[in-house]
């Protein structure tokens, strides 16, 4: 695409890129600060903050969405501007960066170069000299070539071949053009530098677009479910059923992992796939990602309790596992045990028994034993068994363990931008490898009847290249010296 209108070209200059990066940096930093300045409960208590801050500040915070700046119109606008600028840079720059890096050509003439550009100048006549005068052969290009010794075409060709071989040894790509006076050549090193740069820019654009798609189109929902619960996947006839949830602990009691086993159900409720979720190991199906996000313990209810019965007659003990609302037969008897009430934090007041909190601080079970004798009931305390009720039966009861109800926290998300982000990250990694793994160098030169001349054609301001070209002087004069010294002016 050709940008013909001059005013649009301002969008693709290096200065504009810098300005946009500055704006994005400042916007991110401002957003960063505001997420901490604005209280996190702002959206829940807007009325309170309206009174506390006054109408103007409240309206400003609301309008600019300073409580969630990274989803505000102004931040998205900055991101969009950044993306457009990147796109324009890529569209207008690909030719210069990619084509130039791969289809460079030898110069038609050795163009005008500035006096400050580092150069190598070696003339045949001075190569033939010896002693102290040799030191002078590396003068700047402006210095007039020395005594004009004719050198034949074969020697020029031989000289060029040696120069080319030398440059290739230094990982340059060399192209040449023969002229009446000699051989003009270009040598390019680090040809992957600019394509890497371009690839990195494309990747950042792809990631930005992917991120924006995810920001607008992505959905995320966190749901808590206990064993047996069925959750519907939003926007889909499918649902998932929690088959199992485990908190895996180490021997020392530290949490090692959370694992949920799920069944994916079709519209008829039939299981079509089993899934296992762990932290860092989500399940994916049909554009949905299902994560083991967190968990929740409900102390107000319990899954089951373990009750120990000690028989007075023979001292024998038996453990029974009882679920709420379930009658369980007591071993070796005709009695049944049933839990009639449960308080996670047992308290007894004037109005009777109640739970003073929702936490399992003093859990107590009211059990009822039924048999031929009729009914008998009493409280059992997990933490304070000495307060257990006494039963008019030849059996002592105590509660050993109460399993609370664990809810697995599942995050179900769908993000249509995911493939773009992953592709973008992969491209960016490759781009960075090329960009920082290779250093672009372009030299132009001539091997002619008067000597050889090489100049940095594209000065990236790199001191490295200056050092490199400085090192080349010695090497090149060595390989050229043989030709000039052995056969100065001799026709081949």
């Amino acid at each position: 695409m050709e940008l013909k209108r001059k005013k649009w070209k301002v969008l693709i200059t290096g200065r504009t890129a810098v300005v946009i990066i500055v704006i994005l940096t400042v916007a991110s930093a401002v957003g960063w600060a505001f997420t901490e300045i604005i209280p996190r409960d702002f959206t829940f208590h807007k009325d309170i903050y309206r009174v506390r801050w006054g109408g103007v500040i409240f309206s400003l915070v609301s309008y600019l969405r300073l409580y969630d700046p990274f989803h505000s119109f102004w931040y998205r606008g900055v991101l969009a501007f950044f993306a457009i600028s990147l796109l324009l840079c890529i569209i207008t720059g690909w030719k210069a960066l990619i084509v130039h890096s791969f289809s460079f050509s030898p110069p038609l003439i050795l163009g005008k170069v500035t006096g400050r550009a580092p150069a190598i100048e070696i003339n045949w006549s001075k190569l033939a000299l010896s002693g102290a005068e040799k030191k002078d052969i590396f003068g700047y290009y402006k210095k007039i070539f020395g005594r004009d010794i004719e050198i034949n075409a074969k020697q020029i060709s031989q000289g060029y071949n040696r120069v080319a071989a030398y440059l290739k040894g230094k990982r340059y790509h060399v192209k040449f053009r023969k002229t009446a006076d000699g051989v003009l050549f270009s040598a390019m090193g680090g040809r992957w530098h600019y394509p890497g740069n371009m690839l990195f820019h494309i990747a950042i654009l792809v990631i930005t677009i992917g991120g924006m798609i995810g920001s607008f189109q992505g959905k995320k929902e966190i749901m808590y479910a206990r064993k047996g619960d069925v959750l519907t996947l939003y926007g889909s006839p499918l649902s998932i059923r929690v088959d199992r949830f485990n908190i895996i602990q180490t021997r020392s009691g530290e949490i090692h992992n959370y694992v949920t086993k799920l069944s994916l159900l079709n519209a008829n409720g039939d299981s079509i796939q089993s899934m296992k979720l762990e932290v860092n190991d989500p399940a994916r199906y049909g554009g949905y990602d299902i994560y083991q996000s967190s968990y929740y313990v409900d102390d107000e209810e319990f899954e089951w309790a373990r009750i120990t019965c000690r028989f007075a007659k023979n001292g024998k003990t038996e453990s029974i596992y009882i679920k709420p609302d379930q009658k369980t037969k007591l071993p070796s008897t005709d009695w049944t045990v049933e839990i009639k009430d449960y308080n996670p934090d047992f308290k007894k007041g004037a109005k009777g028994v109640y739970s003073s909190s929702r936490k399992m601080l003093n859990p107590a079970l009211l059990i009822e034993i039924t048999g031929a004798f009729g009914h008998e009931s009493g409280w059992l305390f997990l933490k304070y068994p000495s307060f257990n009720s006494r039963f008019e039966l030849p059996v002592e009861f105590s509660v050993d363990y109460i399993e609370p109800i664990y809810y697995t926290g599942l995050q179900i998300s769908s993000n249509p931008g995911t493939p773009l982000i992953i592709v973008g990250i992969a491209l960016a990694a490759v781009g960075l490898l090329f960009l920082f793994g290779s250093s672009y160098r372009l030299l132009k030169g001539e091997v002619g009847r008067k000597g050889m001349f090489i100049v940095i054609a594209r000065e990236g301001g790199t001191k490295m290249l200056k050092r490199e070209i400085s090192g080349m002087r010695e090497g090149l004069s060595d390989i050229l010296r043989d030709i000039a010294i052995d056969n100065p002016g001799e026709e081949g």
């Binding site: 991110s28 990274f70 860092n280 989500p282 994560y291 995050q411 990250i425």
Partner: protein, 268 residues
């Protein structure tokens, strides 16, 4: 193995680094190679204790010690110290000791204020190979940026003393640029990309605008800006040194941010 041994080794290393820095200052003042060599030997001795401290902590915890901010700081300062050894062995530049040793000390001072307890069992979210990729690369990148900062401080200090320029100007400026050029790709891949991919696997979203993430983005944008200006032939010399120091301040805010701001990285 004594549980406090790793912290003791850390303190021993700290004091030896401090002595090394003082000897480097003497070297810089008298411009004699002997104190410079002594300083390098002392620095190397400190690095040995430093390395021993990290290995000991690894043995004690049973996992690579990168899970807390103290451990991260310990590793970060180790990276910076190793970078000095690389520089001295490759370029023989003893002057870089004057630049780098105070940076190592500053990071270790920051570490000394952080809680030093370590957990044998990594929390479930951290039990991933991304943990090692993300944090190691981020530490290497920030280490490189901090080397640039040290060089920048030295540059400014010397520039203020010598208005007409100083002898090591070009070398120090080269160290700033090289360090940023090493740090930038590592930070991009390690802190941002590996972090995003891990977040996607663990939390279900590449980016959550958590304070640490936003801080990392600001750091990345800032160094992107420096590199763009560099490619345009701008921000050289003292300007480069100043912006490099500003970059360091952003890194520190990002680094310590989650201590005060909470967020998804609050456990680190």
């Amino acid at each position: 193995m004594n549980a406090a041994l790793d912290v003791s080794l850390f303190w021993i290393a700290f004091w030896i680094y401090l002595v090394s820095f003082l000897v480097f200052v003497v070297f810089f003042a008298v411009r004699n190679k002997l104190p410079g060599r002594i300083a390098v030997i002392i620095f190397f001795a400190a690095l040995v204790f430093h390395t021993a401290g990290i290995i000991t902590r690894y043995r004690l915890l049973g996992h690579i010690p990168l899970a807390t901010m103290f451990e991260y700081s310990l590793f970060l300062s180790w990276v910076i110290a190793v970078s000095f050894i690389v520089i001295i062995s490759r370029f023989g530049s003893m002057i870089s000791g004057v630049v780098i040793s105070p940076v190592v000390i500053i990071v270790m001072v920051i570490a000394s204020f952080l809680p030093k307890e370590g957990a044998k069992q990594l929390m479930p979210a951290l039990q991933s190979y991304w943990f090692y990729i993300h944090i190691t690369l981020a530490a290497l990148a920030e280490g490189a940026f901090l080397v640039a900062t040290g060089a920048s401080l030295f540059y400014l200090f010397r520039s203020l003393k010598n208005k007409n320029g100083f002898r090591e100007r070009e070398a120090v400026e080269g160290l700033i640029i090289k360090s940023i050029r090493i740090g930038y790709p590592l930070f991009t891949v390690g802190a941002l990309f590996a972090g995003s991919l891990w977040a996607w696997k663990a939390w279900g979203s590449f980016w959550s605008w958590d304070p640490k993430e936003t801080g990392a983005l600001v750091v990345w944008l800032f160094y992107t800006l420096i590199l763009h200006q560099q490619s345009r032939g701008r921000w050289k010399g003292a300007t480069l040194a100043i912006v490099s120091i500003v970059g360091f301040l952003i890194i520190i805010i990002s680094f310590l941010g989650n201590l005060f701001l909470g967020g998804l990285h609050a456990y680190v």
